[in-house]
């Protein structure tokens, strides 16, 4: 299934870090995500200076680096995840890794490994020209983020550049599991739907319970992204927990009343 096909129904995007805690185990965790009910796997490339991530995911970066994962081994891990799960794959990675690889080469390697989208948290739309250029006509989407602080005009500008899906940041702040979901989320989804009509919206940052996932879908989003909640379980070595959590979030999404 491709990323675009997956978005025909509300999708659950589950995040794990490549190489956390080892290359082989990270593949198993990705499989557990999909077994439990995730439709899309977001696979991180560990980086030395992950400024946009909270403490949980930062520790995953450290573990991935510790396990020796670099851009070469990332693509091997990605291919394996793609082969074993058959799920569409996107990557989260910081711009310096892409820049050092060479944008062209990075995008080629994504295509070869079956990575259909790149989320680059330190590449805002105004700096994305070169990346948009090299991905044009390729099978690789550039996924942008929009936050509650992103104004309507800016959102439209992001919408013009976005492909794949729009990653809505549910709350001010960096990644980390939260107990409750900000009520502003619904407003954010509504604003995104109004300003960026053509692109699916997925909501992330702080999604940790089935209840959150249900409310996001009811708010009109096309997808739910969960990261820190899975990384916490990886940190505890809880493979079954990852599967169950994905199932819980999936269940929450499926129980959403479809208002449209």
């Amino acid at each position: 299934m491709s990323l675009e096909e997956a978005f025909a129904e509300p999708v659950l995007v589950g995040f794990v870090m490549a190489g956390d805690p080892s290359p082989g185990e990270s593949v198993e965790y990705a499989e557990a995500l999909v077994d439990g009910g995730a439709d899309v796997v977001e696979l991180g490339i560990p980086f030395s200076d992950p400024v946009a991530d909270g403490p949980t995911i930062q520790r995953a970066h450290e573990r991935g680096l510790e396990a020796g994962v670099d851009t070469d081994s990332f693509f091997e891990i990605a291919s394996e995840v793609r082969d074993r799960t058959g799920a569409p794959l996107v990557t989260l990675c910081y711009y310096n890794l892409v820049y050092r690889r060479g944008l062209d080469r990075f995008v080629d390697e994504c295509e070869d490994a079956g990575v259909e989208g790149v989320v680059i948290p330190d590449l805002p739309v105004e700096e994305s020209g070169p990346m948009i250029e090299v991905t044009r006509g390729s099978g690789v989407d550039v996924v942008f983020l929009a936050a509650p602080t992103t104004g309507d005009e800016r959102m439209r500008r992001i919408g013009d550049a976005a492909s794949g899906f729009l990653y809505l940041v549910a709350r001010a702040g960096v990644t980390g599991a939260r107990e409750s979901l900000d009520a502003a989320t619904a407003g954010l989804v509504e604003r995104a739907n109004r300003n960026v009509p053509g692109v699916p919206k997925a909501v992330g940052f702080g999604v940790s319970r089935g209840e959150h996932a249900r409310r996001i879908v009811e708010a009109g989003a096309d997808g739910v992204i969960a990261g820190s909640v899975f990384v916490d379980l990886v940190e505890e070595g809880d493979l079954a927990g990852v599967r169950e959590k994905a199932g819980e979030l999936r269940g929450g999404m499926d129980s959403a009343r479809n208002e449209s």
Binding site: P55, Y95, E126, E127
Partner: protein, 391 residues
Amino acid sequence: MRYFGDYGGRFAPEILMEALEELEWECSRVRGDDGFREELDEHLGEYAGRPTPLTYAPSTSERLGFDVYLKREDLVHGGAHKLNNTLGQGLLAREMGKDRIIAETGAGQHGTATAMAGAALDLETEVYMGAKDVERQAMNVFRMRLMGATVNPVEKGSRTLKDAISETLRDWSASVEDTHYVIGSVVGPSPYPAMVREFQSVIGREAREQVLEMEGRLPDAVVACCGGGSNAVGAFHEFVEDGNVDLVAVEAGGTGGVDYGSRVAHHSASLCEGRDGVLQGSKTKILDDRYGQVLESHSVAPGLDYSGVGPELAHLEETGRIEAASVGDGAALRGFRRLSREEGIIPALESSHALAYLEEMDPEEHDLVIVNLSGRGDKDVQTVYEMEGER
């Protein structure tokens, strides 16, 4: 202007973009605001002790065979140039209606300067500092706390400046509405590099006037140490158009070499040794491995211990307007002792790099050189004592 040639830009998380735009807007507004300028000048004069003297260094000059003047940023309140910037940004925070400021710090100098500005301008202040630096600079931590700042040791990564910057950005992501992030050098996403340069260029503005008055001519060279590059850009800026004035940024050569296996550079010379990359908000020269993982850097001077450098310096170096050099730990330590003995001025270990570079300068080519003495060495005497004893 978000780029300096190919360098700079705004490679920041989406969540900060609105705040950066507001800051950019506020910067251009106060640029034309005489009231802001006057208030800042008042604080710089009455509180920070500006203008700082330009001091002739007679023994050094005699030994080297050319005239050496020291721009005395060590005499700024707090003992370093850092307060020029924090007072400016503190006032700007107030203009924006923000009552909390946060900062990262390496040596503790910028944190101390932020704590000062916070106390003087009545802003709640929180400082992030790498845990390794907290150990190295315990007295600076105490100083900050005395002035009412909260100091948070950062245990992540290499436990130094770059980790402190990351952690401060994280705080800011969650607090932008009431908080201003006071970056300590000419680094980070636009508009920080240009804004910090503007606040620091008072150094070169004064020095240029002073040297013209004292010597009736411009210097042949201006030399400054370079970590992130704020004292260097601050000292250089007013001279950039003076084509005959050589501008030299002296980086930390540390003990030299790189261990790629453990991702450690035994130096901090990003202008001399680094490559184009994107680090912490801007495209600049950085120290990284072949995959783009950023290397840990090293210097005996904690304020120079940083894997990147301000994008404007990368641009000025690329275009040949400034020269980048590096000086190792040993030479810097000798420079530290030499100035203390010859002139009765104990320099910061950071500034000692600039002083050590003087020894390499050709007296045939230079008659008159200004060194930016970015800070005083009181904070370093214990380090030097522990490393070398009394000698």
